[in-house]
Amino acid sequence: MALDYKKLGMKCGVEIHQQLATRHKLFCKCSAAMQDKEPVFEIRRKLRAVAGEMGDVDAAAAYEMLKNKVFRYKVYLNETCAVELDEEPPHPVNREALDIALQIALMLNCEIPEEIEVMRKTVIDGSNTSGFQRTALVGLNGWVDTGFGRVGITNVCLEEDAAQILDKKKKSVTYGLNRLGIPLVEIGTAPEIHEPEQAKEVAEKIGMILRSTGKVRRGIGTIRQDLNISIAGGARAEIKGVQKLSLIPRIVELEAKRQLELVKKGRKVTRDVRKALPDGRTSFLRPMPGSARMYPETDIPPIQITEEKIKQIRKNLPELLTEKLEKIMKSYNLNEEIAGQIVSSGKTELFERLAGISEPKTIANVLTRYSKEYKIPDKKLEEMFRAIGKKQVPKETLEKMLDALSKNRPVQDVVKIAGDMLSEEDVKRIVKDVIKKNPDVMKAGRPEKALMGLVMKEVGGRAPGSLVMKIIMKELKTSFS
């Protein structure tokens, strides 16, 4: 039975963490690429529960927890320096990352503070060597529109990613320091989502806006989605690590139901952190921690954001992927699936450049499907398409060409494969010739079938079947009329 979420007083908020595709980390010049394979050495550290610095966290409990815990940190040559090791104060904020974060904040209709203050947020699980995460509020009071109504964006924060957990034992946790310090935006919505489908829509929309910048990281682990869900009489549950957006409505529904069951039984709903499972259910992770203490990062001076700066970023906001999609579908007469693949592959610009000189469908196919299979750099593909021009190439020949290209054969050789192709005029000539030589065929029930066989024998793969059929039909029409 479907739930009436309004009646339930369901409130849901979405929180998204997205890594930014900058060259360097947020507070040092280390590479943010996560390419180093093997660590060069390891250091061992302890963290202390600094009494009075823990916010609502129970300091005594934290003290006991940390007393016997050792944190092992793996150091990577190109991706770790003294900053990640907490042996050097942070360098000034990465301006590239700040600009991307401001761009995202503006695309989410946020206000930008006139002075951005970098904060230290206490973290004592060892995922940050310093014992805190550096984070700054760069946008607030924004919104996104959904089919169900407007949802507020309460915060866009620019922060450093945490170290990656590699191993966990009873008394020690091992972290890789290569991820620590990679720039991240955290986007939080107000708890103004009231329908499961709306939660998905909001997450999709924010994701689309993030990807529209072209400056966010893609791939596993580069984006993390959490949900906050409560019903009237229940309590806020934070659901961590939602893997697929399509699961969101199910998760929201199941969590609302879970809380409803407890409420009905007269049991207290506790504020929990829960883990999203692959089937949409969730499992208990830990009680909701108290809010972390936040205090100024005095090693980084406040950052002034001028009106001119905002104007300049606003002027250069990227086109949204949804707008791009519509434009491509219309301009090149492509269906939503193919156009969608082009847009989400991030190769829209390349596609548009090539679509003017070669056949759009073929290009779309190659860019979205074959390029993965054959692993050919975009530059080479572009060269090839420019050389082929308007000529139609059958699938088999195209595959032959891509294969040759992927084997590093020079582009001019590859194009020769297509060079044996017959032009439309050539095919027309052959069709006419065949009709002339085989007058009996025209008397058959379906002459095009028989003709096709005969013509293809002559063409021998030097023209696409679709083109041959098109010309046969045309010829038949003229000879019958």
Partner: protein, 453 residues
């Protein structure tokens, strides 16, 4: 700090930092706690802590501010107060164990004994040993910090010889009042000068004097302050009756090194393990769990009897110079014209200064060395001055009267020269004293394993 204009307005409106306020600006309203502006921020920008915990800055131009009608939550208020350097009352409930060895703490400043006061952007010094216990409860299992004295607090870079003397006086007084030892908290930049000074100033030492600092402020979970203090507490109740520095031995939170005060040097601007022993093994490795591994048997053993004698006579008119290609010895004449009475010169290699060069330092030294001591130390940091292997060295040390500083650190030699000149102006006596070992500052053997230790 806010501008005078903002301060005046806040005063007029009776708004204090820490109050919950409403800032209005062209159709926008922001509510939160008014925070102080740091030195690095814009004095014309209000800093507001939002309910989310984040601070943002709002330019005061065209803005209005008033006290907010809504009440601040208790947690929020406490939070803001804490951030402004006010200590919670709960720490006053903490206690040391009277059965543990009684020691004194002499605090003269530094990161280890402070927290930042965001109200002024300045440093707020800890004033009660219980504040240390608050952050490092383990201390109560090791020592009873019975007395806490803070004659002054200074940034390390502002320390002067008079401050060493003051510190030494207090340490001597504490040691002579029956304490098991003294921990000195201090900034790190010039910690090794102070440790050398205490080494010379405190005669007949029979108990440990442990200097300790921190490279990371104690507000962060990763601060080295806690472990350094714990190891310092173990050192101060140990049988090593020496002045030494006790800080991180490695980047790991594994053990501390207890390094003789006259052989320690800050070798990195920021690392936890910046303090290294030079030309000597550390006295000991000390683990936070209390294990002590002696690395250098050349130390005085605790006997707790006898009074420590304060001998802090010091001549301040001394200078430390460094030679380098192109260095002009005229600088010496300048100093002498200003009344300077002794020099430590950081020499190159085995102890060279420009001798046959167009501008000869050796000649200038020769001209003055009858009344003014020139002590040579190695600018290589590691190693020992050798007065006789090359002709130029022989000219400098035999014919021109320079005093070879052996393997003394330049910083230690500087402190020692001031101390020696505080006792005598007789050139022969000065030379003799400079070459005499008073505080373990000169070693007899160069142990190769001490290089880059």
């Amino acid at each position: 700090m806010y501008s005078k204009k903002i301060q005046a307005l806040l005063k007029k409106k009776k708004i204090r930092i820490g109050d919950r306020v409403l800032v209005k600006k062209i159709g926008k309203e922001t509510e939160g706690i008014l925070m102080p502006q740091t030195d690095a921020g814009d004095p014309e920008t209000l800093v507001i802590k939002l309910d989310s915990g984040y601070n943002i800055g709002i330019k005061f131009r065209n803005a209005g501010i008033e006290k907010s009608g809504t009440r601040q939550s208790k947690a929020g208020k406490e939070e803001a107060e804490y951030e402004m350097g006010k200590t919670r009352k709960e720490i006053l409930k903490l206690k040391f164990d009277a059965k543990k060895p009684a020691i004194s703490m002499v605090s003269v400043g530094g990161t280890i004994a402070s927290r930042i006061d965001y109200r002024t952007g300045g440093v707020h010094a800890l004033e009660d040993p219980r504040e240390f216990l608050h952050n490092t409860p383990e201390l109560a299992d090791i020592v009873n910090i019975k007395r806490f004295v803070s004659p002054f607090t200074k940034m390390s870079e502002d320390m002067e010889p008079d401050d060493w003397i003051k510190t030494a006086k207090h340490v001597a007084k504490e040691l002579n009042s029956g304490m098991k030892g003294v921990i000195v908290t201090h900034g790190t930049d010039t910690l090794h000068y102070t440790s050398a000074a205490l080494g010379f100033f405190l005669r007949n030492l029979t108990k440990p004097v442990v200097l300790v600092g921190a490279q990371r402020s104690s507000d962060r979970g990763s601060s080295d302050a806690g472990m350094n203090l714990i190891c310092a507490a173990h050192a101060v109740v140990s049988d090593i009756a020496e002045v030494g520095i006790c800080m991180h031995g490695r980047m790991d939170d594994d053990y501390c090194l207890f390094i003789r005060g006259t052989h320690a040097r800050k070798m990195d601007t920021q690392r936890r393990d910046a303090f290294r022993p030079i030309n000597e093994y550390p006295l000991a490795k000390i683990w936070p769990d209390g294990r002590i591994k002696i690395k250098n048997r050349d130390y005085r053993k605790r006997d707790d009897k006898g009074r420590v004698e304060l001998d802090a006579k010091f001549e301040k008119k001394i200078a430390m110079l460094k030679v380098y290609p192109g260095a002009d010895p005229d600088i010496i004449s300048y100093y002498i014209s200003k009344g300077y009475r002794g020099f430590v010169i950081e020499a190159t290699g085995l102890g060279h200064v420009p001798t046959q060069a167009r501008k000869s330092w050796t000649e200038v030294i020769k001209r003055h060395s009858k009344d003014i001591p020139f002590v040579m130390t190695p600018q290589t940091i590691y190693g020992r001055i050798n007065p006789s292997v090359y002709t130029n060295l022989r000219i400098l040390y035999r014919e021109s009267g320079a005093i070879p500083g052996g393997d003394m650190l330049s910083e230690t030699a500087y402190v020692k020269l001031g101390w020696v000149l505080g006792h005598t102006k007789d050139m022969e006596k000065i030379r003799e004293m400079m070459l005499t070992n008073y505080a373990g500052e000169i070693t007899q053997r160069t142990l190769v394993g001490t290089f880059l230790y």
